[in-house]
């Protein structure tokens, strides 16, 4: 099977969907002539012309709204945010309009739109460019939220997102663009709302998505050296959440650590913890642990940033805690 990067997988998904459906177009800052700030849209302008690959000026609220209006009347826009941090200036469009029009119109106007771009901290880009906003978007009924952790998932989920009838917040891992993995040439889709067990294990369940999946996989390797078998469950979609797969894992292992790069208070992991305790109370052998970023705006200095973001060692130590090994 061909091995390609996460970036290429996303590029192929967009290209294939634009080839398949003339209603699909890509709009955002620098998506055309510049070939994408992160090169996800490389080559698409040449392939599809200015009509369908549209460079927008710096006006997120404007072009997010243009996408919503176009979706209302039958097009299927992909709106790129250069980073999801910039989606905050378009949040009126996403929360007040995209998430509500289908309901406000009593089903007359579905909004089939994808808002995509990188999210979560990268490296030393400081507080305004390092935010993990999935908890905020996952809070809102009417939206779907997908966060792939591998090239295979990135392609399959993005293709599903484009075909979905609802607004999908598609947050790519900013540090994952160069990650590589096997992606088949033939077409496939990954449905939104289906988790995947990325590694089997029997002693503890690690729940993580996006860039925290590779961190948990590395932690699982380390734990294996101590004879601890960690299972890694990636929900892949945060809304809707496939709680069943997570619950089944925790019922098997009896211990649960939820790892996210977002802030702790009202973080998505708190909701996962609630659902797990509700369904797994009899199976749990220890309180659920959460590993999150520190509760601060992201500092710039590399040493400080490392202290703030969850590292492999933090995951290992949380696992020790739920196994009463600390």
């Amino acid at each position: 099977m061909p091995v390609i990067s996460y970036r290429e997988a996303l590029n192929h998904a967009i290209k294939e969907e634009m080839e398949r459906d003339e209603r699909v177009f890509l709009m955002g800052e620098e998506v055309g002539y510049y070939q994408g700030a992160y090169k996800v849209s490389q080559g698409l302008l040449q392939r599809f012309s200015e009509r369908r690959v549209i460079d927008a000026p710096i006006a997120e609220m404007g072009f997010a709204g243009v996408g919503i209006g176009a979706a209302m009347v039958g097009l299927r826009p992909i709106i790129e945010f250069m980073t999801f941090n910039f989606s905050l200036v378009a949040i009126d469009q996403i929360v007040n309009n995209a998430a509500k029009i289908y309901q406000m119109s009593a089903g007359q106007f579905p909004i089939p739109i994808v808002f995509r771009g990188p999210g979560g901290p990268a490296v030393q880009v400081a507080s305004q460019h390092s935010q993990a906003l999935e908890s905020m978007y996952s809070h809102v009924p009417g939206l779907k939220v997908a966060m792939p952790s591998t090239p295979y998932d990135a392609k399959g989920l993005l293709k599903s997102a484009v075909r979905d009838e609802n607004p999908v917040i598609f947050i790519e891992g900013e540090t994952l663009y160069n990650a590589t993995g096997e992606v088949p040439d033939e077409e496939y889709l990954i449905p939104l709302g289906v988790a995947e067990v990325k590694r089997q294990g029997s002693h503890v369940s690690l729940i993580a998505w996006s860039a925290m999946v590779p961190v948990c996989m590395a932690a699982a390797e380390k734990l294996a050296e101590e004879g601890i078998e960690a299972e890694v469950v990636d929900p892949r979609t945060l809304r809707p959440l496939d709680a069943k797969t997570i619950v089944e894992s925790v019922q098997k292992t009896g211990r649960c650590v939820i790892v996210e790069v977002g802030w702790p208070l009202c973080g998505y992991g708190a909701e996962v913890a609630y659902q797990v305790q509700r369904e797994c109370l009899d199976s749990l052998d220890a309180p659920i642990e959460r590993v999150t970023s520190e509760d601060v705006p992201m500092p710039y200095a590399l040493n400080l940033e490392r202290e703030v973001i969850p590292q492999v060692a933090d995951v290992v130590s949380a696992v020790h805690k739920v196994l009463y090994l600390d």
């Binding site: 404007g62 979706a71 009347v73 097009l75 200036v89 007040n96 119109s105 009593a106 007359q108």
Partner: protein, 334 residues
């Protein structure tokens, strides 16, 4: 260079055949909203209720220039725009009553009328953000080459927020077939023009974008119709947007809870002398040769229509579902 100056006033002679349907719409909107206000005071309608009474000639004149498949996007003060686009008084009043038979099944209420059959793309409660949505409908028309035009209505109170600025900037940049109509009723809720806008002529904003503009008084439905027609033709023929400011005045408060203490009785009375309903009627009699009998027949018909709509709203079953329209079932989702 595109035209950036306001249009010269256009010949505004009219005929009975043209004006009677417009008069009928203004009257129906007036009576529908009066009925809504009464029902509100009886506790039969809840939430916010923003009436357009006094401003009806703007939406009626403007929407009368459209084809059925052209789009309209409006704010929370949109009963008149929806009615003018073809949504029935039954569907609107039943919605205000929160009934299953309402235009959006009791899910939207007064502020959120949406109607696909008449291409009415919504009433929006958070103003300014709806301006890019109108640009998006225009974008889709250009993308498909379907020749449709979008009218976007907003008050002058919306013209400072970012959504408005970004929406008109993109429409101008991408040459989208949208007519942006500012219904400048002189008060942003309770704040008068001079305390909210440094430049009180909202159409001037078009200059910064090289966009065509126009500016007119909104008390005469024929004038509104003639002048908006120019902008709609421009959008349809050359795909270019126009920003139009129409001066108007609401006779009632911002919403039902507003006693309007920020305006003097004299000022309100002064504007009531320019009531668009009275002007249209006077023109019908004085200039178009309509007889009292003809007009009374129209008025009786409207009275019956609104009485029927109120009865319909009263008798309709309560709204009964809120789950089905949160997310739409998708081939690959859920």
């Amino acid at each position: 260079m595109r035209r950036i100056e306001p249009e010269e006033d256009t010949p505004d002679t009219s005929t009975k055949e043209e004006l009677i349907p417009l008069y009928r719409q203004i009257l129906a909107i007036r009576r529908m909203e009066e009925a809504a206000a009464k029902a509100y005071s009886q506790g039969k309608i809840g939430g916010f209720l923003h009436l357009i009474i006094g401003q009806e000639a703007v939406c009626v004149g403007a929407v009368s220039t459209l084809r059925r498949d052209d789009y309209v996007v409006a704010t929370y003060r949109e009963h008149g725009h929806a009615y003018a686009k073809g949504v029935s008084s039954r569907a609107i009043l039943a919605e205000l009553y929160g009934k299953k038979t309402g235009v959006v099944k009791g899910l939207g209420g007064s502020m959120h009328i949406f109607d696909k059959p008449t291409s009415f793309l919504g009433g929006y409660g958070i103003v300014g953000g709806h301006v890019p949505i109108a640009a998006g409908a225009g974008f889709a028309s250009k993308y498909r080459g379907d020749g449709r035009v979008t009218l976007c209505f907003f008050g002058e109170g919306s013209s400072t927020i970012g959504g408005f600025q970004e929406g008109i900037a993109l429409a101008a940049l991408w040459k989208l077939p949208v007519v942006f109509i500012c219904e400048n009723n002189l008060y942003s809720m309770g704040t008068p023009l001079y305390r909210s806008l440094a430049v009180e002529d909202v159409s001037m904003r078009a200059l910064a974008h090289g966009m065509a503009r126009d500016r007119l008084d909104g008390d005469d439905v024929i004038r509104v119709r003639r002048r908006i027609q120019i902008a709609v033709d421009r959008a349809r023929e050359s795909g270019e947007p126009t920003l139009v400011e129409v001066r108007t005045y609401r006779f009632r408060g911002h919403s039902m809870s507003d006693p309007g203490l920020y305006r003097t009785r004299e000022e309100v009375d002064e504007w009531k002398r320019r009531d668009p309903l009275a002007i249209a009627r006077r023109r019908l009699v004085d200039e178009c040769g309509a007889s009292e009998e003809e007009l009374r027949a129209v008025e009786d018909e409207v009275k019956k229509e609104i009485a029927d709509a109120i009865r319909f709203a009263e008798d309709s079953p309560a709204a009964d579902e809120y789950r089905p329209y949160v997310t739409k079932e998708s081939p690959t989702g859920d």
